[in-house]
């Protein structure tokens, strides 16, 4: 019975983590955008405006839940929940440290890939349920974009999986550091099994994975509907896209899903390409930096630092680049990213056969 209680605690912990991350994320986003645009951002509530998002969430909870008269009531009410739950379920298979993973399943990455795609359905549900043409347009754009960008993202992931030979994220993580049970070579020639650190990360184990990582990162921006791929909620054309009609706590759920999604895709990127919970510090001769900085707590620290770094880059990109047009977006996906991802997959196969 204790088993089940642990499960519940882990689930609640993950939920509160994603809620807390959304709070901090919105604040960080405001401050970063303010810095980039030479403004101040929130300053009044709390020290440096740090309580601003908390105040916002308080306001949202108190707001009236309005259901438009012509909306499909059930779809409208369920949509935000489905959007959020789809993202939240993805967290179940992410490893946080050596031996620390909510659910150790041997299909890890495939499961996450599958469960994320349900978000599309929730977005379509929200768009159709609102019975508002802006919402439907936003939902259609979002679905088209997510489905298209799943292909390069999928191939980038496959090229890592071909190198790692497993779908289990914990094993993928294990291979990228000193805990590896097999022989790890830096760029295919230098044995770094005992050295670890930066050199045994996947992007350095097989350098073509750097391209795969960039492809994955671009595609992950599109999958979480972030700028420069935020045409589903392009405010100059579509008001707010698929979440135009949502108010109060439902609107908050959509936002929570967006920020959790940012964290989730960044963390997948970190796990697959950037060494997961492994330390960037290598063992140099008698100075065993890697051995000293590899355990459960350091694991949580490293994975969080790397993931937050990627999230910061996502925010930086959002406030720097202009939005794509729909045709540019599809051109980029089908004519640039997909062939490149195919190429990466091909190189992975050759690499695996001849250099590992």
């Amino acid at each position: 019975m204790n088993y089940y209680i642990t499960y519940f605690i882990v689930a609640i912990g993950l939920f509160s983590f994603s809620a807390f991350f959304a709070l901090a994320g919105v604040y960080a986003e405001r401050k970063i955008s303010a810095f980039i645009q030479d403004r101040l951002g929130p300053t009044e509530t709390g020290k440096f405006g740090s309580l601003q998002t908390l105040a916002d969430i308080m306001k949202m909870i108190q707001k009236e839940l309005i259901i438009p008269a012509a909306a499909d009531k059930w779809l409208f009410m369920l949509a935000p929940a489905i959007i959020f739950i789809a993202v939240y379920m993805g967290f179940a298979a992410l490893p946080w440290g050596p031996g620390l993973i909510p659910s150790k399943i041997n299909l890890g990455i495939y499961y996450i890939f599958a469960i994320i795609s349900i978000e599309t359905l929730g977005i379509l549900m929200a768009g159709w349920g609102s019975n508002n043409k802006y919402s439907v347009l936003g939902a259609m754009r979002s679905a088209a974009q997510i489905i298209s960008y799943e292909i390069p993202a999928g191939f980038a992931i496959i090229s890592v999986v071909m190198i790692a030979q497993t779908l289990d994220l914990q094993v993928v993580s294990m291979q990228q550091g000193i805990l590896a049970v097999e022989k790890i070579k830096f760029a295919g020639f230098w044995d770094v099994t005992k050295i670890g650190g930066l050199f045994s990360w996947n992007i350095f184990r097989a350098p073509h994975l750097i391209i795969a990582f960039v492809i994955y990162f671009i595609a992950s921006l599109a999958e979480s509907n972030r700028a420069p791929f935020d045409i589903p909620e392009a405010e100059s054309e579509l008001v707010a896209g698929f979440h135009t009609e949502f108010t109060g706590i439902r609107f908050a759920l959509v936002f929570l899903a967006e920020y959790s999604m940012m964290f989730l895709v960044s963390m997948i990127g970190v796990i697959l390409f950037l060494g997961a919970w492994n330390t960037p510090l290598p063992n140099i001769g008698p100075v065993h930096l890697a051995t000293w900085t590899t355990n459960m707590w350091w694991g949580i620290f490293w994975v969080a630092i790397k993931t937050l770094g990627l999230v910061a880059i996502q925010m930086w990109i959002r406030w720097t680049l202009p939005r794509f047009r729909v045709d540019q977006l599809m051109n980029l996906c089908w004519k640039v990213l997909t062939p490149l991802a195919f190429l990466c997959m091909l190189i992975s196969g050759v690499w695996r056969l001849w250099l590992m």
């Binding site: 499961y111 469960i115 799943e150």
Partner: protein, 182 residues
């Protein structure tokens, strides 16, 4: 009753109830969304059968792909077509639907017969497998097995399917191409 049995009945109930709702409702969009529930419950049943790869593939292909495509086609088609389709006359059972009902009933009888006659607990090959310890436990990584089998024993069907899919892709590309000016 063990937890697994409980889960099995729970998910079967959801699958059947949502499938019935999807078939009987007049609201087409809702029927598509309820079909999503059916597929998800089926994925859960696959997990209970220790076929986790099939379950996840079901979610990827049907939920992430096909359902979204259906919805897409639905939202792109005109309102008039949809209105005609939504205003189907008659009740759930009517004379016009007799062939369909007959077919469904026959299939049902066949299925019931199979279940009753097969005696699934005492099949010889199942017994053989148990005796030879050739079984899958919840901790087995099934993908290795699937991959090896696809590339050796089932290579020909696998390649045939890939050619078929390639044909569909070429066909789709051809159909969507602009006709040159004659």
């Amino acid at each position: 009753m063990s937890l697994i049995r409980l889960l099995f009945y729970f998910m079967s109930f959801i699958a059947i109830a949502s499938a019935l709702y999807a078939a009987s409702t007049q609201n087409l969009v809702r029927s598509i969304f309820v079909f999503f529930v059916t597929l998800f419950a089926l994925a859960g049943l696959y997990v209970l059968c220790l076929a986790d790869f099939v379950a996840v593939t079901q979610v990827v292909i049907y939920v992430g792909g096909i359902l979204v495509l259906i919805l897409f086609a639905f939202m792109l088609s005109g309102k008039e077509t949809l209105d005609v389709m939504q205003q189907q006359k008659g009740k759930f059972f009517s004379l016009g639907k007799l062939p369909a009902i007959l077919l469904a009933a026959l299939f049902f009888i066949v299925m019931i017969n199979v279940v009753l006659k097969a005696d699934a607990d005492n099949l010889p090959w199942v017994k053989d497998s148990i005796a030879n310890n050739n079984t899958i436990t919840p901790n087995t990584a099934t993908i290795d097995n699937i991959g090896v089998n696809l590339m050796t024993r089932y290579l020909l069907p696998f390649e045939a399917i890939s050619v078929l899919l390639l044909m569909a892709l070429v066909g789709a590309a051809h159909l969507s191409r602009k006709e040159p000016e004659a």
